[in-house]
């Protein structure tokens, strides 16, 4: 586990990853277990209110809370799952370069014959691997819950929306990596990443309610993640590819800016 930067970075997270896994599995599994009590009571749909209710900013622009898709989208996928993925990647990506630089450990690392772009790439790969492992666990937990409560839903589409959420997490993680690599400032990187994630969420969530926001909704990565409702329709190839391309561009930006600048003492 110590043979390169990628494996060492994964190894460093073994404890925190274990706790993340426990949390992700529990929160998803337990949430799904509440499905039967909610689906039995169609009056829950009343809390959705009319088409312009603010409630829709928190659960999504959906018609039915009590269908399997409506339940999972509103309770897990609209906010909670992507939020967890973004927190996971933002924390990891901003410590990757900027965190090491602030601690001073980057000096020794870069005194080895490893090019800077490669350090960035391996840190990205570590984030990618742990994020998708976490996404796989989230999917398994939801699928297990669905099996227990006998939910009528496609496991493949459940996987599609989980992968879509992971792609969203990857995009914001890549943003954190790019900011950290370009500035070496962890606080700034995590702050800007968080602020942009909240903005992207609100843009997507409020656009159906606020007319002036509507044209902007489509630029929100949250829209690319869930706007096409992957849980009902499967992964939208264009949206998924756009999120992946965004990550790729940010990764390239991270490597290029890091190559060109001075390392702080």
């Amino acid at each position: 586990m110590l043979s390169n930067v990628l494996l060492k970075t994964v190894r460093d997270q073994r404890r925190s990853f274990m706790w993340w896994s426990v949390g992700i599995v529990l929160v998803n599994f337990i949430t799904v277990l509440f499905y039967p009590s909610l689906s039995a009571a169609t009056e829950f749909n009343e809390i959705l209110g009319d088409d312009n209710s603010l409630m829709r900013a928190f659960v999504g622009d959906i018609a039915d809370l009590t269908s399997p898709e409506g339940f999972l989208n509103s309770q897990l996928f609209f906010l909670l799952v992507p939020l967890l993925f973004i927190v996971f990647t933002a924390a990891q990506s901003t410590s990757a370069i900027a965190g090491e630089e602030e601690k001073g450990t980057l000096d020794i690392l870069l005194s080895h014959p490893v090019p800077r772009w490669r350090v960035v790439a391996e840190k990205f790969a570590a984030m990618f691997a742990t994020l998708f492992a976490l996404a796989l666990l989230a999917w398994l937990a939801i699928a297990a819950g669905a099996l227990v409560v006998d939910m009528e839903i496609s496991y493949a589409r459940m996987l599609a929306v989980t992968v879509s959420a992971a792609l969203l997490g990857l995009a914001f993680g890549s943003l954190g990596l790019a900011l950290g690599s370009a500035t070496g400032n962890r606080g700034l990187s995590i702050g800007v990443t968080g602020a942009l994630a909240v903005t992207a969420y609100l843009l997507n969530a409020l656009a159906p309610l606020v007319e002036t926001l509507e044209p902007l909704q489509r630029v929100s990565p949250f829209y690319l993640y869930i706007g096409a409702d992957p849980l009902s329709n499967g992964l939208d190839p264009v949206h998924a590819a756009t999120l992946a391309a965004l990550s790729a561009v940010l990764l390239a930006t991270a490597a290029l800016t890091f190559e060109r600048r001075d390392i702080a003492v």
Binding site: N4, D12, T105, D107, I108, S111, H112, P113, V114, P115
Partner: protein
Amino acid sequence: MAAAIETDRLRKSYGSVSAISDIDLEIQRGEVFGYLGPNGAGKTTTIRTLLDFIRPTSGKALVFGLDSREGSRDIKRRVGYLPSDIALYDRMKGEELLRHSAHLRGGVDWPFVLELAERLDMDLSRQIRTLSRGNTQKIGLIQAFMHRPDLIIMDEPSSGLDPLLQQEFYEMVDEVKAEGRTVFISSHILPEVERLCDRVGIIREGRLVKVENVESLKERALHEIEFHFAHPPPADVFTELPGVRGVQVEGSAVLVSVMGSLDAVVKAAARFEVTSVESHEPSLEDIFLSYYGNEQPHVE
């Protein structure tokens, strides 16, 4: 064969402030070179440029004839580096950290790593975060020496080491030199530089003010010697003696600053009843003064 280190009008500025300017160094293979200067003089800036952590504003640096920027990866294969105020991955054990480092380099002889650990009396099974500063420094030294690099660059290497280990460290440097490899040490501790180095470069306010071999540096060092007499001696006993640069009298105590041989001063003092003598090792500051007299530091 290219020099181990060669810099050509190397300059690094931050805005209008120059951290270093016009540094021209040439360090031959097999040399142990001391880079001397007070804190903030530009020692670390020079070193970090050689390792391509920072990029020169102008001029260039070559290590084994390779450009510090383009040849960075090849340079790092042949260089061992110990930063000042070393920070290591504190959630790893010493052995894990060194194994990781060995993997990143490739071709490290692990028994040699263990031998170094033994020489420095270092327990590699301990977590880095539980280590004292001195022990952390030892891990840093091991990772700088373990791949038997052609050039070892160390920034304030013996800080935190206890005297016994300092001796061991000196021997490690001697062995590197005996094998024809090169060592570049930045320091502000004169006895260490005296003990280890063949030549020194003195840097002050970002400029290389002198490159000299250690012997001639010592000859020109200003020694301070303090005599306590049973009775106050005549005021001018020492002032006219060869090498004396200053005399301060306080009652029966006399502080004499001497450059070069102490012989005349000691013989003059011996004519009186001496109750005690203290000799102060010349500090780097003293050497600066002996070189530059009362010239004020240049302020931009």
